[in-house]
């Protein structure tokens, strides 16, 4: 018998269940793209049959980090840049949980960049949503890792001399097995991509363009957007690494010229998840580790039985 009965519960789920009953006032500005992520998640989760209490949403710090204040799952609002290591350990501790990690471009691509590379490399089975608004919002408008070259801000007054980071290409090279980009202005695509990411067995990275109407007024609202799957101008095989790399590079290049490309960029369904890899080498327990602490019949190994090597 499981100690975690919210997991795998089969029932109809209303999307309102994901809205806190006593809702804290959202701190996002009117017109913020972050509302788009929240809405897409509330739609996607019931459609993939996940109840609020079998989902753990782990966030970093920034406007994006407030996601789990307004999404009523189990939540862990961690520290700046560290959502991924917290999230992947929770998944290892209890692989039955549906784990979603989220943060912003500063949080995920800047301060937490090392964790992003390694979580993708290891292909942990989780969804990672990066709210990419190309700016630091909560600290009032500083240049971020994805801000375009020449971007002026109080901390880069003469304009950034840095080329922006390439989120999609980086993720592909690091080893993510599902890479997509969507935008808050494209709610249907966003919902569908989130559903696919949740159902994908492995590290699914969504670069989610979220316009910042307060601190990035000059930037585009990410309209009009083009879905690379639906447009005839972009013909590539989403399962082909080389073709994916090429279209990712173009997508990243043209964003700063005003062309917003979105869609699925890379899907590798064959690559085993980290949990599977670790099981294959014999270093993952068969049953969720978290269950064992509630199992009265569990037999706990003792150090006393290891002493032979010391006598």
């Amino acid at each position: 018998m499981s100690a975690f009965n919210a997991i795998g519960e089969q029932r109809e789920i209303d999307r309102d269940e994901y809205t806190p009953g006593v809702e804290p006032q959202p701190t996002w500005c009117p017109g913020c793209g972050d509302f788009g992520v929240l809405k897409a998640l509330k739609q996607a989760l019931p459609e993939v049959g996940k109840t609020p209490e079998e989902v753990l949403t782990v966030t970093g710090i920034g406007c994006s980090g407030k996601l789990n204040s307004y999404l009523d799952t189990y939540g862990f609002h961690t520290i700046h840049g560290r959502s991924l290591p917290v999230a992947r350990a929770a998944k290892l501790a209890n692989p039955e949980l549906e784990v979603i990690a989220a943060g912003g471009d500063g949080d995920g691509y800047g301060i937490g960049g090392n964790h992003w590379i390694h979580t993708a490399r290891e292909n942990h089975d989780m969804t990672y949503i990066v709210f990419n608004n190309e700016i630091f919002g909560l600290t009032k408008g500083q240049t971020s890792p994805t801000s375009p070259k020449g971007h002026k801000s109080k901390t880069q007054p003469s304009g950034s001399a840095k080329t922006p980071l390439r989120p999609l290409s980086m993720s592909l090279n690091a080893g993510a097995s599902y890479v997509a980009r969507t935008a808050a202005v494209n709610p249907n695509q966003a919902k569908e991509i989130i559903k696919e990411a949740i159902e994908h067995d492995g590290f699914a990275h969504i670069d989610f363009l979220t316009q910042c109407p307060t601190w990035n007024k000059d930037a585009r609202q990410y309209v009009p957007y083009i879905d690379v799957q639906e447009s005839d101008d972009y013909d590539f095989d989403v399962h082909d690494r080389a073709e994916a790399a090429e279209i990712m590079r173009e997508t990243e290049n043209v964003l700063n010229e005003g062309t917003v490309l979105t869609g699925r960029y890379y899907i590798d369904e064959d690559r085993p998840s980290y949990q599977q890899e670790k099981t294959a080498v014999g270093e993952m327990p068969d049953e969720p580790l978290a269950e064992r602490y509630f199992d009265d019949d569990a037999e706990w190994e003792r150090s006393y039985d290891l002493l032979e090597r010391h006598t």
């Binding site: 209490e53 992947r88 209890n94 270093e283 190994e301």
Partner: protein
């Protein structure tokens, strides 16, 4: 200094197999019925460099390294890379012999490998003259030639052990048994041949004029030879810890390695990750999801854990972290012990610290206090840190096997089941009041785990309301802060009611005290015993509870003495400062004996420090230590 003990030092280059040879020899001595204690000295290099392991063995209890030593097996450094005298490291080949002579006691024995060490260089040491002055007995042996003849050159360790056994009149039985456990086939055959050949050659070639022999002892119960790192790892296993995340760093790596090797067979999970920030964050994540988890590092790596540590404090996530100190600052001396990270561990991370810190003083305490750390962490939902050092991490001593025969304690403390959650308080919307200050006992509000029905809440590093929502309401803030801090008071009360984790020794009625903490305990214990034998009247206290501080116990001890000397391995008297900060008094009573040259205290250095400092003998200490007088002195 006692005559009935053997302190055998095997010296060579890193990579010469000093560790494994000494481990087996220590075990052989233990099996023969002796108490043993090892001390490892090595450089931060993979190959070459002067390294030694010292084994102290006696028929009585040994709690520390001794004063100097009385048997040197100098293998010579076969990996020496700079044969020129003018090279930066100097001529290293000879170092295992030349560098160890100063600490060799009168009447001591020297065995060196004349097959490796250059005759002229040995002559340059003036060995003959020094031997005469100190009554040393010198035995040049062609260990390399012997090894080559019957096996391979690397087996010269075995030849050295054979010579040792002959000179000490030891039976080869235990040494052979251990070789048979560790080796097989041709390798075993060759090693056994070398062992016997060396043993017999020594007996044939030399007339023994030395007095030193292996002590003879007997154990009433079966003994196990363990290091502090073994003890910490085993304490964690018996506390039900089944998740560890880490990043390699000396000396913390030892515990990480032991658990990584054992966990797969125990259904546990070990993760080597990208950095120490991730390591601590993983431990937080695993604990949050319901597993007893730990992480750890040494100074520099632990610095990266400061922020996840604060997150665990604020979200009240149970967690055990290890801080295995080495000499700092910065990269410092990576393979040398020091106790200079105390203040860092007590106060690192922003805001008011809310953590428990234990500093075990020996191998049994390392096991006990690791268990205790898990128990307190999960009962009170608070991070607990074990602070120890390179010395305790790597030293081996014999422990009664039965000491470990006890029940595991894997329970999750103040964690609710789904049935209990149904009875627990929820807000109007049905959200679980995870941080409910109204019904908390001892400051502890029971927690739920993700995936449990009816336990939904938000954990956040921001200040938060009872259901976990971010809140900057002044009343809520004050209630929550007071509640969290109340846990520390409750923990202190609980610890005061249990068997004390502090260690007391010496003469109860003494007017002078020596206070220490952590791994310096053994040397201080021995020093206090000697001082009392010499006619002084001294008592000792070794403190393990760093936070919450055992105010009553330490106050009682300090009130009972006229003066006390605080002994610790650092340059700034951190523990003395901690005592004064916690108690707000005793500045005029407390002086310090400090050592920070990279080597742990020898008991004689503490005896001398006492004589110079408290017994007011008018002289300077001869050892590389510093005395800091009490305030006003």
């Amino acid at each position: 200094m006692s005559d009935d003990e053997l302190i055998w030092r095997i010296a060579g280059g890193s990579g010469d197999g000093i560790d494994s040879t000494s481990q087996n020899f220590a075990k052989a001595l233990m099996r023969s019925g002796l108490d043993v204690f090892t001390h490892r000295h090595y450089p931060s290099r993979i190959r070459g460099g002067h390294t030694y392991v010292e084994i102290r063995a006696a028929a009585h209890e040994v709690q520390s390294r001794g004063d100097g030593y009385n048997f040197l097996l100098a293998l010579g450094d076969s990996f020496a890379r700079n044969p020129q005298e003018e090279a930066y490291y100097g001529n290293e080949e000879i170092k295992p012999l030349s560098e160890n002579l100063d600490e060799l006691r009168e009447g001591g024995i020297i065995v060196y490998d004349e097959g490796l060490l250059d005759e002229e260089e040995v002559a340059d040491l003036d060995l003959e003259k020094r031997a005469e002055e100190n009554d040393w007995h010198v035995f040049p042996m062609d260990l390399r030639g012997l090894a080559k003849e019957h096996g391979r050159e690397v087996m010269r360790n075995t030849a050295g052990v054979g010579v040792t056994a002959a000179l000490l009149d030891m039976d080869l039985e235990h040494i052979e048994d251990l070789m048979e456990d560790a080796m097989s086939g041709d390798v075993l055959e060759s090693n056994l041949e070398i062992l016997h050949e060396a043993y017999e050659t020594t007996n044939e070639e030399y007339d023994f004029e030395h007095d030193l022999r292996a002590p003879v002892g007997e154990h009433d119960t079966e003994q196990a030879l363990l290091s502090g790192s073994n003890a910490i790892a085993y304490g964690a296993i018996d506390a039900g810890c089944r998740f560890i995340a880490g990043y390699p760093m000396t000396p913390w790596t030892d515990v990480f390695t032991i658990l990584s090797q054992n966990f797969p067979d125990m259904g546990g999970v070990s993760e080597q990750v990208e950095d120490e920030i991730a390591a601590a964050a993983l431990a937080v994540g695993a604990s949050h999801a319901g597993v007893k988890a730990m992480s750890g590092s040494s100074g520099g790596g632990f610095a990266l854990m400061s922020e996840p540590l604060g997150l665990a404090e604020m979200t009240e996530t149970p967690l055990v972290l290890l801080e295995s100190m080495r000499a700092g600052p910065s990269t410092g001396m990576p393979t040398k012990p020091e106790q200079a990270d105390l203040e860092f561990v007590l106060y690192t991370s922003q805001g008011d610290s809310q953590r428990v810190v234990f500093a075990p003083g020996n191998i049994e305490e390392a096991y006990e206090q690791t268990r205790l750390a898990f128990e307190i962490a999960w009962d009170y939902q608070i991070p607990a840190i074990i602070i120890y050092d390179q010395k305790l991490s790597g030293e081996n001593t014999n422990v009664d096997v039965e000491f470990f025969d006890r029940e595991p304690k894997p329970d999750l403390g103040s964690t609710l089941t789904e049935a209990e959650l149904r009875e627990a308080a929820h807000d109007n919307s049905g959200k679980f009041k995870r941080f409910n200050y109204e019904e908390a006992e001892n400051g502890v509000a029971p927690r739920s785990l993700p995936g449990q029905k009816g336990g939904r809440y938000l954990a956040t590093g921001n200040e938060h309301s009872p259901v976990g929502h971010i809140s900057e309401d002044p009343d809520n803030r004050t209630f929550q802060m007071d509640r969290r801090l109340e846990k520390l008071e409750a923990i202190r009360e609980e610890l005061d009611e249990r068997d004390s984790t502090q260690t007391y020794f010496g003469d109860e009625d003494a007017e002078y005290g020596i206070v220490t903490w952590g791994s310096s305990q053994g040397a201080v214990q021995e020093a206090v015993a000697r001082l009392n034998e010499q006619g002084h009247s001294v008592k000792g206290l070794s403190v393990s509870d760093m936070l919450p501080f055992p105010k009553t116990e330490v106050t009682e001890f300090l009130e009972s003495v006229d003066e006390a000397m605080v002994v610790e391995m650092n340059a700034t008297a951190q523990f003395r400062g901690h005592i004064q900060r916690e108690l707000g008094r005793f500045g005029e009573k407390l002086s310090s004996l400090l050592k920070y040259n990279g080597n742990p205290f020898e008991p004689a250095e503490i005896v001398e420090g006492y004589e110079v400092n408290l017994a007011d003998e008018d002289r300077e200490p001869t050892a590389q230590v510093r005395i800091e007088p009490a305030a006003g002195d």
